[in-house]
Subunit: 249 residues, 2 copies
Amino acid sequence: MLVAVSLGPGDESLLPPAARAALERAEVVVGYKGYMELVSSSLLEGKEVFSTGMMGEVERVNRAVDFAQEGRDTAVVCSGDAGIYAMAGLILETLEARGLLDKVGFEVVPGVPAFNAAAALLGAPLMHDFASVSLSDLLTPWETIEKRLRLASEADFVLAVYNPRSKRRSDHLRRALDIVARVRSPETPVGLVKRAYRPDQEIFVTTLGDFDSELVDMQSILIIGNSTTRMAGERMLTPRGYHTKYTVG
Amino acid sequence: MLVAVSLGPGDESLLPPAARAALERAEVVVGYKGYMELVSSSLLEGKEVFSTGMMGEVERVNRAVDFAQEGRDTAVVCSGDAGIYAMAGLILETLEARGLLDKVGFEVVPGVPAFNAAAALLGAPLMHDFASVSLSDLLTPWETIEKRLRLASEADFVLAVYNPRSKRRSDHLRRALDIVARVRSPETPVGLVKRAYRPDQEIFVTTLGDFDSELVDMQSILIIGNSTTRMAGERMLTPRGYHTKYTVG
């Protein structure tokens, strides 16, 4: 059995019992080194652990499939939700390419996605329709990313931005924000959360006009408001529209 | 203290410890009747419970704020994630309208959103950029919803569709699917999950061309693939693109 386990933002208080149970059951735990640190050592005790660094996804998943094929209960851990920009898809692709779809059991345990953790800390920015865009052009042409940002902005989606900082290209985020700024006011609230629910968590709220890209690192999630998003005190709020139909308060 | 608590899809195995702790701490639990049934009775024992039916959101939130203002620890429960089409925003709006933003503590406990639960059961449909659109035109003009569907389709986002069935208008979903079908192949996989992770859960996978709107009810989540989404065995898969850079399998 092969299970893609969602670790959530990292704190065990946001690890659902189903994910914990999958880790407890596993004989082998496979994952990116950085995520392995999010798993408490008591959950790893007595298990075989296979972890590698960034860009090692294909190797890790192949090894995980090897383990599962040998009949060992294997968990592939992912931060956030295993189904969002994570390993669930590559596992399916690998099982398919190796002709094992019917031979190795596979399950995804959903979790708390990174952008929901960020949203909760920022207030209520996602209350209405939203789109999620990754700025990583490692596996996606940058033109596609720009097109998505442009159309999502025109559609007035609240935007969740994953991988806002690239090691290789430092101007991606600036270009992304410029695209959004073509149709949204400079006053649009923008929230930035680094390492949500981890000990060194940081939360910033600013505006599209004042946003400082230098604050952003690889572990940041950005949430850009839509045309109705505003501040309620120190929190981001995208009203759902109750005030147009009801008296609120 | 007022806490918006995410119940996740409903099964306790997907209720993180932070949400459970918030419910245990609460003196008053407020929520929609239908969601109250997702909370195990042991967690409600000895607490005041205030629940009303659909459309009672404004009244419920006002009562929750009353309770919190009296100094009672109050939890407002939401299914899925409290920050997605749920109560976190209305609570903020209400605190603001009543001048209580600085006087009543407010926190959101994030959870497993409905569309992630659905995605996990369908395979790996959300592995790339996605957009979430609610078809409810109760608080949003239908023209806005159509525009979002059109632009999100053009942007090739995987689509998560909330509230796919309206009591008042039965043709919304058909019109929504027609908009998507203008730019996506009839072979595009579409997943439908009803009552994810509940005892009477149902999972359907079909195509945009063959989709039967009659299957859909108020508790359904729809996931419509993008141009790259395909079936891997019986599961939906939106490849992230590793195969273009690496040899998978």
